[in-house]
Symmetry: C2
Subunit: 84 residues, 2 copies
Amino acid sequence: MNKKQLVKRVSQKTGLTLAESNEFLNSVLDTISETLKNKENVFLRGFGSFMVKERKPRRTMSLNTRKMIIIPGKKVVKFKTQIL
Amino acid sequence: MNKKQLVKRVSQKTGLTLAESNEFLNSVLDTISETLKNKENVFLRGFGSFMVKERKPRRTMSLNTRKMIIIPGKKVVKFKTQIL
């Protein structure tokens, strides 16, 4: 199922138009994205939670050049489901 | 951020009432849940994808009784983000 199909299904369920449903879904996804970018977790009871974890930068040796290189840290999003 | 806070934020953004926003969000989450329960993946471009994976049942030996036991298989939901 992709976003278009989700919008269609939700539009049928709620009675909102396709355009309204699309706008609303975008608003929901944008809000969750912004929250996670601010390193705040999102808990949706009965569905699951989105959590931001920080991976630390680490040092390793390049197999080609045999020099030490630094792999930069990054943020990752973990999802813990309550669905299944 | 919890569900109530998400509904409030989205209501402010879209101009829908809190009740309407809540109904819509529930409809979105329910639809995603149902889809995943039917083992169908959900792809939301620009946000991420929810994928159902099946863990196979496996045999192991109980440390207490030293008998073989079977750990039943289960379905898990993986989320791959496109956000950060």
